[in-house]
Amino acid sequence: METETAQLLKIPADGNYGDVMVLGGGISGIQASLDLATAGYKVYLVEKSPAIGGHMSQLDKTYPTNDCSM
């Protein structure tokens, strides 16, 4: 199972080498990481709090459509 999770996260087995480090796991950092990984780069996403999401996860809804922020 662990190897499968590693594949999901696109982590190669060897060492701490990556292409890009993204500092901050809010909406901007998440988007940057997803785009980079989809385009074929190995990304380290670094976040200081216990979960990703940043300020956007604290918002109830978003303007101007009142879509759920979460």
Partner: protein
């Protein structure tokens, strides 16, 4: 550049990530109550807890309030954890990583109003910040979505918002800039508060209303038109608190009634955005320079590139911005990393491999049902255990269980394991809307070797627990009805295959302005062939008419350099005087026909970027076109740059804002004009300091850092006079002391009297308007336009540069008016999104598409007429004309199904069989 060694300090979680199942038993038993950071410390949480209900990863952590960590006592959590996941001895870990590029997406911090005594925050219980209020509004908030006062846990009915808290002020501790998001988020909070309590009496004390973004103007109107909602333009202070009721008194002044004091149940401070608290530390660590405000310094021609090579910045560390900008600057940072690292693309990543798919089509359905608590979102209303029991009683159901969060990584794994263990061949997850999580659950089937279309989602949250939260018993019954329907459908599901398509690596960029060229260059620098199509004779677009900017950019110099780069780039082919005549194909495989200076061309490309730009309104107001002393702001800029003395030598110059927009015909703000007028005013003051300049405005919308220039203009004695749209200025030719002038008369609301200004020149901030041919472009490329005829993105917040049509992207002013740095940000964003497609060899399209049962098709064409994607063609057969669906273009919306008179066309995964079984199950009682 290209070689960074980063040392990370991984803080201890005191919970072993791989073992924690997120069951929250430890949280229940933890004796320590501690202010919940995520809920703005309004409510309490435990020392061990999950950060928030939908946290990723969804596992617990222990914070500094833990008794063991403080005093070596307790350890209850260790004993109650069945997964043995607590590790109180965990230490911080140093971790070295080596990367070739860095993206700073640190975000912002909110302004702390307790630093200023004047707002009462921290002293008065019922004064809250907008972030506090955001949590109060939220269903996962401190009072589970009830807006309550901390002082007495009662619903506040009379609430005031105070705008610009910490923003637009030069006093120490405040920010001089505008935080750019507060006007709109306050309007959102007003609208949502009225949803919570229709009788609430709400007041917003504001300065200028800055509804400068796409669809913001209508949003403001929506908030303002609600009953018992007042927007009052006034400076405001929080004066005192009633010691008994804890109500809060606000002092404000209006032109009509002078200074007043009013009592409110609650006051919300609309706090601004600060740079991240540790901005200096970031600057030191990454070697980047900062602006005077502590944001990341970048060039106006590339706001994503920091002063440190290989380090990029996206999101609010660039400066205050809203969510869509944070998203497309992130994609922009992605493409810039790609420009740097293209040579090593794919070397460190590995493809995900799924087990081979089993053929279970001949097996009798064996359905597994997983019922999700969604924390308390479902579990608080629906009786989940009895629903699981019920599910087990349904036909074909061989297994059912409950899950706390089915979407958590461990729960998803549990579904996969259970499928294998119990030999399930169909799965129903009863949880939330399929819109967000269906792909994740389908994945659990793939992991178990099942076709992913053997999955159905029963929405018992949005369709049940959320909308009937008060009726628990009925909600449980309804949840069971929904599950019964899903189970019935699941029995009829068919395995479907998704299609892998090759991706043509070339891209077409429509529009050769700054946005189009920037996007083209970024993609070309990553080895993609680019076809850049420009309607005019020359590249450059609207920027050809701009000469200087507030941040000191020589626009023509910059533009010339950009055009040169485009022409010199071996991978970019430029087509001028071009017109798109035909556009066909689909994601990864488009074919576009052009006529241009190169003659007719047929281009094959995998992606399309629409960057067609905008036009400028030709005013019919204020004597424009009748008196040559009346100019648009673009004409003024042209004349200034030519050194025209009729303009630069004027004694008095009047600028009128909002000409042709923010009205009935164009119900939006053109975003750029306030700053453009201030730019021209400052330029004129620089050339001729004696000139009297008046700017007649409705709201000055110098959002973000542009605010500093507004202040500078005021300091340089540019006079700003506000007018109301019902009472616009009048302009007529007249004489003043023998001097021929344009007399501009208007009501000055501050002085309370009519003013008449004798102007030599009057300039009009003419609206930025969508291009006439937007409709043609939208039809050719099968993308949509919004209500104001600007191009409409796939999702306002989360997919701001994608179109709903796959493989087509959007940037620049075609999306909405914007300044040059914003257009550049967005152009990189579109390139970044296009690269996520172009850098792969294949693209996968859904198996849930339409198909035609040929013997029933009469070839009437009704289906093709309603298909917005142009997915249906007609083919001549021996039995006459028949419809054929191109499965690659079909989006599976099913419109054609409803139109087909003979039922010949059907949507796979939503066949009559599947849907009717669901409906039959609805009417049947268990």
């Amino acid at each position: 550049m290209g070689d960074f060694q980063v040392t990370l300090n991984r803080k201890p979680r005191y919970v072993i990530e791989d073992r924690c199942t997120g069951c929250t038993t430890c949280v229940e038993y933890c004796p320590v109550e501690y202010p919940d950071q995520f809920n703005q410390e309004i409510s309490e949480n435990k020392a061990v807890h999950i950060f928030f209900a939908q946290a990723i990863p969804l596992i617990a952590y222990i914070d500094e309030s833990c008794l063991y960590l403080k005093e070596k006592k307790c350890r209850i959590c260790e004993n109650v954890c069945k997964a043995d996941a607590i590790d109180l001895g965990q230490k911080a870990q140093k971790m070295e990583i080596k990367v070739a590029a860095i993206v700073l997406a640190t975000g912002y911090d909110t302004y702390d109003p307790s630093l200023k005594n004047e707002y009462g925050y921290g002293r008065m219980t019922n004064v809250v910040t907008s972030m506090d209020f955001e949590r109060l509004l939220c269903a996962t908030g401190p009072y589970e979505g009830e807006i309550l006062r901390a002082s007495d846990r009662k619903h506040p009915h009379k609430i005031a918002w105070i705008q610009c808290v910490g923003s637009r002020r030069v006093t120490p501790g405040d920010n001089s800039y505008c935080s750019a998001v507060c006007c709109s988020y306050t309007q959102k909070q007003v609208i949502l508060t009225k949803d919570h309590d229709a009788d609430a009496k709400l007041t917003v004390f504001h300065n200028d209303i800055r509804s400068y973004g796409k669809d913001f103007e209508r949003y403001y109107q929506r908030a303002e038109e609600l009953s018992d909602v007042r927007f009052i333009r006034s400076y405001t202070t929080v004066s005192r608190e009633d010691p008994e009721t804890k109500n809060v008194f606000v002092r404000y002044a209006t032109a009509d009634d002078g200074v007043q004091e009013e009592e409110f149940d609650m006051v919300v401070l609309s706090v601004g955005l600060n740079p991240p608290a540790d901005y200096q530390g970031l600057a030191d660590k990454f070697g980047i320079e900062l602006t005077e405000h502590g944001f990341c310094l970048a060039s106006p021609t590339n706001p994503i590139e920091t002063t440190s090579p290989g380090v990029y910045v996206c999101g609010a560390f660039q400066g205050p911005m809203d969510i869509p900008e944070s998203v497309y600057t992130a994609s922009g940072a992605g493409t810039q990393c790609g420009e740097l690292l293209n040579y090593r693309r794919g070397e460190l990543t590995r493809e995900r491999v799924y087990p081979a798919e089993k053929d279970v089509s001949q097996e009798k359905p064996k359905i597994g049902v997983f019922v999700c608590h969604c924390g308390s979102n479902i579990g608080r209303v629906v009786d989940v255990p009895s629903t699981v029991e019920y599910a087990l009683s349904l036909p074909n159901v061989v297994y059912a269980q409950e899950q706390l969060f089915s979407c958590a990584t461990n729960s998803a794994r549990e579904i996969t394991d259970t499928i294998k263990e119990k030999g399930l061949n169909r799965v129903v997850v009863a949880a939330c809307s399929p819109r967000t999580l269906e792909p994740l659950f389908r994945d659990t089937l793939r992991e178990a070797g099942l076709n992913q279309y053997y999955y159905d989602m029963a929405n018992i949250r949005e369709h049940c627990s959320w909308c009937h939260s008060k009726e628990k018993e009925e909600s449980t019954n309804k949840a069971q009805d929904i599950i019964r329907m899903s189970v019935a459908r699941a029995g009829h599901l068919k395995p479907l295959q998704e299609m892998d398509l090759p991706v043509n690596k070339a891209a077409l960029v429509v529009g050769g302005g700054i946005a189009g060229m920037t996007s083209a260059l970024s993609m070309a620098n990553q080895g993609h062939e680019i076809h850049l199509v420009e309607k005019e004779n020359d590249l450059g677009g609207m920027a050809r008419r701009l000469h200087y900017t507030l941040d000191g950019l020589d626009v023509q110099g910059y533009l010339d350099g950009l055009v040169r780069q485009v022409y010199r780039h071996p991978a970019i082919h430029v087509y001028t005087n071009a017109e798109v005549t035909e556009a066909t194909g689909y994601v990864g495989n488009f074919v576009t026909k052009l006529s241009s200076d190169r003659g007719p061309s047929e281009i094959k490309h995998g992606a399309t970027v629409v960057a067609v730009g905008v036009d400028v309104y030709t005013p019919t107001e204020y004597l424009y076109g009748q008196d040559e002393r009346v100019l648009t702001h673009l004409e003024l800029e042209e004349r200034i740059s030519q050194g025209d003395e009729a303009v630069t030598g004027a004694q008095t110059l009047v600028m009128i804002q909002c000409v042709g927009c923010r009205n009935k015909d164009r119900n939006y703000c053109s975003r750029v004009c306030c700053s453009e007028s201030i730019k021209n005013a400052l330029k004129l003051k620089e050339i001729n300091p004696e000139m009297d300049i008046y700017i007649l405005f409705r709201d000055i919308r110098t959002y973000g850092m542009l605010e500093d220039y507004y202040r500078e203009a005021s300091a340089k004695d540019v006079k700003f006079i506000r007018y109301e749209p019902e009472n616009p200025p009048q302009v007529e030719a007249a004489e003043e002391e023998g001097r021929p002038v344009l007399q501009v008369s208007l009501m000055d609301y501050v002085l309370g009297q009519e003013l008449a200004i004798g102007a030599d020149i009057v300039t009009l901030a003419a609206a930025v308007i969508p291009r006439e041919d937007n409709k043609d472009i939208s039809q050719l490329f099968k993308v949509s336009l919004g209500p104001d005829d600007f191009f409409k993105e796939a999702h306002v917040k989360l997919r701001p540069v994608d179109f709903a049509t796959d493989g087509v992207y959007l940037c620049g002013t075609a999306h909405y008016p914007k300044h040059i740095p914003e257009a550049i940000n967005q152009a990189y964003g579109a390139a970044g999104r296009a690269l996520t497609l172009l850098s792969n060899d294949i693209v996968t399209v859904s198996g849930s598409v339409c198909e035609v049962a040929e013997d029933r098709c009469m070839g009437c064409g009704a289906c093709a007429q309603v298909c917005t994607y142009g997915a249906i063609e007609f083919r001549k057969t021996k039995k006459g004309q028949k419809a054929v669906v191109n499965p690659v273009i079909c989006k599976g919306d099913g419109l054609c199904n409803a139109k087909c008179p003979t039922g010949a066309i059907f949507l796979k995964h939503f066949t009559d069989d599947e849907l009717l079984s669901q409906i039959d199950a609805m009417s049947a009682t268990a």
